[in-house]
Each structure stands twice: as C-alpha cells, then as structure tokens.
C-alpha cells in the first residue's frame, strides 16, 4: 500500500488518460461521445465499473448497434411572455444551455412543438429568439399550442411549412403535422382565442381528436414514394402516432392509416412530443419514443399506457425542474435509435433500441424504486 505513493490527482489523470487513449483505438463512431448519453447508457447496461476511473465501455457494442450520429431535442416549452411568468423562459434557456454544452455538438436539434402556450405572436417571437441561440441547426415541429389561434399562419411565417422531410447521413427524416383537428369551432361560434383556449385544455370533450388528416397522409405517401424501403425512417410528430388515451388527446385518430403507410419500411422510429413524460412503445416495425417537456411533466393517463414504458415517478412539485428536461437521440448504424431522456434533477435514462426490438427482454432501463403516478 505504501509502495510508490502517487497523489490522488496523479492517479486520476493517469487513469483518465489511459481511458481516453483506449477510446482512440476504437473506431471513432463506435463509442458514445455524448456526455450524458454515455452515463445513461452505462446505467442502462449496468456497466458502471466498480473501481478506478474507468468510463463507460460501450466499445463492444454489437454490429449494427453502433452509433452513427446524434441529434438532440428540446420540446414543449409552452412559453408565455416573460413579463407574465418567466419560469418557462428559465427552463427553455436551461435546455438551450444544455444542448449548446454538448461536446461534441449534435448534428442538429429537433424542437418538438408547443413552443408557445396560446399561439400568440409575442410567445412565438420569444421562442424564436430563444431557439436562435442554439448553435446547431434546428428543425422545427409544430404543436397544437402553436397552431389553433390563427391555424398556423404566424408559425409558418416564422418557421416554414409544418410538414417537411430531409435526408441526413443515410436516414430519411419526416416531420408530420399530426395535430390537425376537424372543425369544432364554427358551429359553436367560437372566436380564435376561444378555439385556442379549448385546444389548450387537457381534458375536454369539446375539441376533436388529433389527426394527420387526409391531406397530410397523401403528402406522406408522396414523400415516401421516392424513398428506398431499406432506408431507415425517423418520423417526428407532435402527438404520439398511436392511440394512448383519448380524453387527453394523447392520441392520433388516424394512427392506423399512418402506420400502414410506414409499414413497408422495416426500420421506423417515431419521436413525438405532447405527452411530457418517459413514454416508450413499439407497434410491429415502428418504435415510438416520447420527449420530455421543459415546462412541466404530465402524469400518466389512467389507462392505455404502452406496456414497454418504464414510468418515471411523481415529480416533486417544489422543484420546478423535476420531471422535466431535454435529451438526445442516438441513431445507430442499424437505423434504429437509442433515446436519452436528460431528466433535470434526476439521473439520465436511456431507452435502447435493443430494449424495444427484444420486446422488453433485453437492456431494460432502470426502473424507479418509488411508485409511479
């Protein structure tokens, strides 16, 4: 024990140096570089080594399970004007700081919708101003809170068409506008503000159910016509593209039709906002992941929760950040993704593609010790 005493710092730097040197021998793309993601994955894989300054050993990941690239996400900021209430501004800024601090930077950042709370110009302008400070390119998705004051007019002026697609490093990305609603307002003589307020309420039977709609589905069909079926697909939608809980509109009315359009593609991932919670589902060829909100966590619905979801437990109401956060998506060479929930004030949780493909048999994320809600 007394032989060759090295200071703790010396030992630390030596071991850390050795670790990073070790990493360099591994192919550049075969280890996780995203800080939080590696911690989360380590936990998910139970790879936290018991001694020494060893980092995470993800280098031995199976063929096809290796990360290809990473994008980050920020979602559901629900901004009010800062003069009225700045807690959500604070949270949005925190998320921007988080993604800007990622080293290396993500290839792009997805904004998952519900930038504004009531679709007002000043709310959307504020959001745009905050998102402008993100260093990586930002892809925008629209949410119902952005849309139903003027049916998306101002939002489209700021950010462009609500549905669009792009290709990135061999993956085809599609952003769907999944929060269309059938006209419930004209017959009731609602003003635009009343319409917005109605949609913004969680639990009401007045509004219609969300849908991609006939036009949106036709657009999707046309967009996918030119894409080879072996190409991995990642679909962004604000509402989950399946039927979770109807009364809260955690729901897409024409989900089955949309899923049918995606059927020919063996590797499909849907990343959605709206539900503000850890949410995991798989329907045949499609893997679904929810995104965290920066503003507040929703409780889980009383029924309809997908079986694969590992729930997060009740958030501490005193703690503004608890149950909220942002995250990242690691796209694997196989075309599937590992999803990281960067929960603020909690430890990160990674939901791996292998957990979903194995139907929950492998690589289960850590389950909370406390009861869920």
């Amino acid at each position: 024990m007394s032989k060759g005493p090295k200071s703790i710092e010396t030992r630390h730097y030596e071991e850390r140096g050795a670790f990073f040197a070790g990493l360099r021998h591994v192919s550049r793309r075969s280890f996780v570089k995203l800080a939080g993601l590696s911690a989360g994955l380590a936990m998910a894989k139970g790879l936290v080594t018991p001694h020494g300054f060893q980092l995470v050993q993800v280098a031995s990941a199976a063929e096809g399970d290796r990360p290809s690239f990473t994008f980050a996400y920020v979602s559901d900021t629900h901004l009010y004007p800062a003069s009225l209430n700045d807690r959500f501004v604070r949270a949005a800024l925190k998320a921007v700081d988080d993604v800007n601090a990622l080293d290396p930077q993500p290839d792009f950042v997805l904004f998952g919708g519900d930038l504004a709370q009531l679709g007002r110009k000043e709310e959307l302008d504020l959001g745009r101003q905050i998102l402008k400070t993100i260093k990586a390119p930002v892809h925008m998705m629209v949410g119902e809170h952005d849309w139903f004051l003027d049916l998306g007019e101002y939002w489209r002026g700021l950010f462009g068409p609500a549905q669009h697609s792009f290709d990135h490093k061999g993956v085809h990305f599609v952003t769907l506008m999944s929060v269309q609603e059938k006209d419930f307002w004209t017959a009731r003589g609602m003003t635009p503000a009343e319409r917005m307020q109605t949609v913004a309420g969680l639990d009401n039977g007045v509004q219609s159910r969300f849908e991609v709609g006939e036009e949106g589905r036709a657009w999707l069909k046309r967009d996918l016509e030119k894409v080879d079926h072996q190409t991995p697909l990642v679909v962004f939608s604000h509402s989950p593209l399946y039927k979770y809980y109807r009364p809260w509109n955690f729901w897409t009315e024409d989900a089955e039709e949309v899923q049918a359009i995606l059927k020919p593609f063996p590797h499909v991932t849907v990343i959605h906002g709206h539900t503000h919670q850890l949410l995991t589902n798989r329907i045949d060829n499609i893997q679904f992941h929810g995104m965290l909100s920066t503003a507040w966590p929703w409780p889980y619905a009383p029924e309809g929760l997908p079986k694969l979801t590992i729930q997060m437990n009740r958030a501490d109401p005193f703690d503004q950040f608890d149950g909220c956060g942002d995250g990242a998506v690691e796209v694997l060479e196989s075309g599937l993704v590992n999803k990281l929930y960067n929960l603020w004030d909690r430890n990160p949780v990674a939901v791996r593609a292998s957990y979903l493909t194995s139907g929950g048999a492998k690589d289960a994320p850590p389950r909370t010790k406390l009861p869920s809600f």
Binding site: A39, A101, D319
Partner: protein, 424 residues
C-alpha cells in the same frame, strides 16, 4: 389458551417496559430532541455508556491523535464554539501550506444525521471518526495501525481501553469511544422549542414573522423542514444550490464529471473530497450519479447562529449573506436544483428570517450566540452576495416570485395556530 394469555401478558409487559424506557429517555433528553428519533438513531450496542463517553471526550480533545501532536478533533470542532472553528476552512497538520476544502460542520445533533460529512460518504459517527485522523492534511496519520500503536503506547489509554473495552485499543474502539462522546452532544432546548411547546412569547415578534416566512415565501422548509416527520431542520438529502458554482471552473468541472462515471474506495474519495478541486463535485464523488454533481448535504439549522461561516466551503460569512444567496435563487449552473428560485424577500423579511434562525440556539450557547450575532450584525452593510434586482425579479430569469405576505398577518400556513386563529 393459557399459552396465548401468557404471550399477551408478556407482550403487554414488553410494551409497558418500552413505554417506560421512552418516558425515561424523554426526561433525559433536552426539549426539542425527539426520544423516538433517538431510539432510531442510537442502536443499543452503540449506546453512550458513561465510561465510553469519558474516554471519547478525552480522545476527542487529544492532539496526540494527530501525526505531529498539533491537531485534535476539537481543533476544528471546538466544544466551546459550538463544535466548529469559525474558520472558512479548517487548519490541519499541513496548514498553512495546505488546508482542507470544506468547512467544519458541528458535532451537535450529528448523531441524528442519516449520513456524515458534507457529501454523506460515511454512514455512521464511527466511520466518520476514522477518516479525518488518516487524512494527510487534517490529522495526518499514515494508517490505522500507526494510530493504534501510538495510543497503546500511552499509559493512561492502556488502562482506560482495557477497562472500557476489555482489551487493548483497536481503531474500531477509538472510533466507538469518540462516537459515544458525540452521542451526548445534543442541539435542543432553544427558545424556539419553548415556542413550539406553547410559550408564544418565548421568541420575539421578528422571529415569529421569520417562522412564517420560513414556511412560506422563503421556501426554506422544503429542504430545512421542521415537522413531525422531519424534525431536524434538514431533509437529509443533497442539493446543488449553486455554492460550488462560485468557483470559476465549476461548470467545466461539472460537465466533465457528467461524462466521467467513476468509482473509488472510501479513503480515496475522502482524499479527493478534502484535498482537490474535485471537492466541489460534492455528493457526486460518492454516488457517481449525474444528479449529484455539486450537491451537498442539507445541514440542520439548530445553533446556526454560532456556526459561521456557512456552506460546505465556508464561503458565506454571515446569515445575511446566506439569505442574499437564496434570495437571488442561488448561483446558476447546469446542475442547480430546480427548487432554487429567486424569493423576492425584502430587507425587513431577511432580518426576520435571521431572527428566527437565532431563536434556534440552545440555551447553553445563548451568550456565544449573542456575541456571534453582534459580530455578524456589525458587518451587515457588507453584502457581497446581494443582488437585489435579481432577487426582486427585475433582472434575469429565475422563476416565479411568491406573493408577498401581508405584514399584518404573515403567511398563515405553517404558523402555529391556536384556537383556530393564527398567532396574534
């Protein structure tokens, strides 16, 4: 049937015996120290017997426990100063060349802490006592064997250990004796305890207003809770309140830490925690969990008037500085606890909260508290942490402001209610 009756009788006798024990304990403990908690916190095997306490007292004050006969436990945990040293960071055997990184916490009520040290790395008083003796810059002993050899060589200890423990001193015995002594150091019997027990005049009007603010607008009670389920003015958890972020490189350090999941043996963590700039990572060094970066234990608040300076690094000189820190919502950093937000407390409200904290002083330290508070009050105009614009919501984005209570009727919730009305 007879058997069952016998069992019932026996059970009854046991229950009665227990109740009797609890009552006897209650007599012995100062007001404000829960007998129930004492029974939970002090296992029968670790009960402080008088001879163990006497031996522990002697060891606690004995500088010969250190490598150079210069430092005892009491050097940093001075019984006459409320078991602290009133220094930012303590002097150990390596001072002034090298000093530990963390402020000496008090021993008072330490027996009730769920974990020991600012980062909770020791599970018991015994385990705690063993580490500073071996820390190279605290007491500097090389190994437990060195300590034991030194103690065994001292004739008075040879006699005492064989009498108390029935054999020659071991390192475990030394720790057990010190822990026994520490289990007699209560923090209770404060004016506030008399107030809670029903004497509404036991604390002044300012302190009573402060108690309302403590449970309301000040948001203090979420972590420093004082209630039947949390009687220690501490939630016994670890939070990043932004003190670590005072250090300029903290954010970079924190980002690195998040990407570096590592583990170490207890001794190694102890050295990291005390000696290096990694110290600022706090609880993370123990758990390696990202959520614990820069988090430190919520200390209890009893006798806080006599334990300046404050925080894990002793960086805040007065209770006014502490209030300024919380009032502005802490210092922003990526791991700042979400419970931290600006408070919008006025200067008068800050004074009330300080008065409340002063009312938590045990009567045996009343004179010391008076002197300490006079010293703090004298430098009330020096306020390095004050950022009024931020605290009042005129600058920055640090969350909602709680409504300002009506000064005539301070926050009714959390305040003792008698006969259906809030006090006065």
């Amino acid at each position: 049937m007879p058997n069952r009756r016998k069992a019932l009788v026996l059970g009854g006798a046991t229950l009665a015996g227990l109740a009797c024990l609890a009552a006897a304990l209650e007599e012995r403990l100062p007001r404000g120290v829960s007998a129930v908690l004492y029974e939970l916190a002090v296992p029968p095997a670790a009960a402080p017997t008088p001879d163990r306490v006497a031996l522990g007292d002697k060891l606690f004050n004995d500088k010969r426990l250190s490598v150079n006969d210069q430092v005892s436990c009491a050097t940093c945990h001075d019984p006459a100063r409320g078991f602290v040293d009133h220094k930012t960071v303590p002097d150990g055997v390596a001072a002034p060349a090298q000093r530990p990184q963390r402020n000496s916490p008090t021993v008072l009520n330490a027996m009730f802490n769920a974990t020991q040290f600012w980062d909770g790395r020791a599970p018991s008083l015994e385990e705690q006592a063993k580490l500073p003796i071996l820390n190279p810059i605290e007491m500097g002993q090389k190994s437990p064997d060195d300590v034991v050899a030194k103690v065994r060589a001292l004739p008075e200890y040879r006699e005492a250990f064989s009498r108390v423990f029935g054999h020659e001193a071991t390192y475990d015995d030394i720790a057990a004796a010190i822990a026994a002594f520490e289990r007699t150091q209560y923090a209770g019997d404060a004016p506030f305890d008399r107030f809670v027990a029903g004497d509404e005049k036991a604390i002044g009007a300012a302190a009573r207003r402060g108690w309302g603010l403590f449970n309301g607008k000040g948001r203090c009670s979420d972590c420093h809770a004082f209630s039947t389920v949390s009687p220690l003015f501490s939630d016994q958890k670890f939070h990043n309140i932004g003190i670590a972020a005072h250090k300029t490189d903290f954010i970079e350090l924190a980002r690195k830490a998040a990407s570096t999941v590592r583990a170490g043996d207890l001794k190694q963590v102890d050295e990291l925690a005390i000696q290096t700039h990694f110290s600022e990572l706090g609880r993370f060094l123990v758990t390696k969990q990202a959520n614990d970066i820069g988090a430190f234990k919520t200390p209890g608040l009893r006798n806080v008037a006599i334990t300046a300076p404050y925080m894990h690094d002793g960086s805040l000189a007065t209770l006014w500085d502490v209030m300024d820190h919380y009032n502005k919502g802490g210092v922003p950093n990526p791991n700042l606890d979400g419970g931290m937000q600006r408070l919008g407390l006025t200067e008068a409200e800050i004074d009330d909260l300080v008065a409340f904290m002063e009312s938590l002083t045990s009567s045996k330290f009343a004179a010391l508290a008076k002197q300490e508070m006079a010293r703090q009050r004298a430098r009330k105009s020096v306020r390095p942490e004050r950022e009024t614009a931020v605290a009042m919501g005129k600058q920055g984005h640090l969350g909602d402001l709680a409504p300002t209570p009506d000064p005539a009727r301070p926050a009714a919730f959390g305040v003792l209610v008698r006969g259906g009305t809030s006090y006065e």
